[in-house]
Amino acid sequence: MDRRLNLTGWGFLLPAALLIVIVSFVPMIQAFILSLQTGRGTRLTFADPLWYNYQRLLGDEIFKQTLLNTFIYLIIQVPIMLVLAMILASLLNNPRLKWKGFWRTAIFLPAAVSLVSYSLVFRTMFANDGFVNDAIGIFGVEPVNWLGEPNTARFVLILGLLWRWTGYNMIFFLAGLQNIDSSTIEAARIDGANAWQTFWRVTVPQLRPIIVLTAIMSTNGTLQLFDESWNLTKGGPAYASMTMSHYLYEISFQRNPNFGYGAALSYVILILVAILAFIQLKVGDKRD
């Protein structure tokens, strides 16, 4: 290409690239340096030993609890959500389906609501004297202290996540399905495969790139959950439903801010995101 055009291209992408370097890469390096320091507020000195903050994390019971919680959300919620999103998308992709626009809008709509908003709606519905307890009361079920018990609090949080994100992921699957050659599905049908077999053996393998994309996005999002933990369960009871990012906020910006220790925790999140993304890319790349 002509030199002038090449330079024009660099000029056009410079603002975007510079911004990403300034707000992502530079802070990422600074966070690592910070994670080797100790002290309160702005008076920070290098720790002795340097990895002191990381060592401290290993003995931090609250950190272990929030790590466990985050993984419970990840392992239970993400697979259920992606399967549901795929099923909903393939139902919506059926050319004979009626009221398609209505279903799509209704199912996606939760994704337009802010995380704080829906957290507070769920908090209200699952309050001790709230709607859900009244509803199950009709069937003679005793009221449940939803947000006061560890497992039910986690359950409500997972239910909220499913409500908020299933429709969002469905849109990506729907876009992927529309790009699949429908003749492959017809061929499977002619060969005598039923709808279920066709779905798992023909459609799903072709959706692999979208599955990898949505799985990575969802994993990334789950490891960074904050709004729901803060607003829906307030991390409680005690620390039973608190996420890692919620704990990170507590360490870094509440009471006695400890930026060094917070930065070490943030690096644990970064490394987990990287490892899980790498595994998902490897698994997703495998050819049959």
Binding site: I20, L88, A112, G167, W230
Partner: protein
């Protein structure tokens, strides 16, 4: 017969999920018109308390200011993000070169950096230049995202390069080709990118909470979160505030949903 039954199963599943999707939104809207006691006794019909709830809400919180801040942040972020990322995505494809491919790969890595890992240094950075409590500090980190650059680059693949060649023949400058030919052609992609950015910027909670530390500057998500943190929660008032915080993004999505879906489909090819 079997096919009919399966069809019915599909409709049943869609109906159940749709009810599950819409019920919390209905609950929110209806509760905004009821007293706190009525909300807790599960009244699911519209009441007459809308104006009372509104009066109480406006007396307790500066809703106007929070709405204005949220709009300024969401609109500002969207406009800047569309300009900066569309021209970058366009450049990565139209002025394609080996060096640019490498840079794109590096920028995509930024997608893997969780916000949590950059939040503390970002706060320190803005504190150093005296921008804590400023709306610009909320906007700047949200302008350029690898996802939007990728969306524009992928969509540009379906943009006919003959159009660029023809425009050059006609003597149009490179920036004019982008502004006058590319931008009008790619409306669906801009709509999709705009919806994603507006929704994310309006709904963002963690970063505004970190950087807006004075109580007089707050966004709608911050306002409703604070409202629920009090000792006694008035659920009718809370649900009205939540409704205010949710309507703008729902309207944006309603108006642009067709273009949004087309834009995503165009990028995933």
């Amino acid at each position: 017969m079997i096919r009919k039954l399966r069809g019915a199963g599909g409709y049943a599943f869609l109906t159940i999920w749709t009810l599950f999707s819409l019920f919390p939104l209905y609950f929110m809207a209806v509760s905004a018109t009821n007293t706190s006691q009525a909300v807790l006794s599960s009244r699911l019909l519209p009441g007459l308390e809308l104006f009372n709830n509104a009066a109480k809400l406006f007396a307790a919180q500066n809703v106007g200011a929070a709405m204005l801040s949220s709009f300024a942040i969401a609109v500002g972020t969207t406009i800047l993000a569309l300009i900066v990322t569309s021209i970058a995505g366009y450049a990565f494809e139209v002025y394609h070169s080996r060096g640019k491919d490498v840079l794109m790969g590096v920028l995509l890595l930024a997608m893997m950096i969780p916000f949590a890992a950059t939040m503390i240094p970002l706060f320190q950075m803005f504190a150093k230049i005296g921008m804590v409590n400023s709306l610009f500090a909320v906007i700047i980190p949200a302008i350029s995202t690898p996802l939007l650059i990728l969306l524009f680059r992928q969509s540009t693949r379906s943009f006919p390069s003959e159009l660029v060649e023809a425009a050059r023949m006609d003597g149009l400058g490179e920036l004019a080709i982008f502004a006058r030919i590319y931008v009008p052609t790619m409306r669906a992609t801009f709509a999709a990118a705009g919806v994603i950015t507006f929704l994310t910027a309006w709904n963002n909670f963690l970063w505004p909470r970190v950087i807006l530390i004075k109580n007089d500057v707050q966004t709608m998500p911050m306002l409703i979160s604070n409202l629920s943190a009090g000792y006694v929660t008035d659920y009718g008032v809370l649900m009205l505030a939540v409704l205010f915080a949710s309507l703008p993004t729902m309207i944006v999505f309603f108006v642009l949903q067709r273009q949004f879906a087309n834009g995503i489909t165009g990028a995933i090819k």
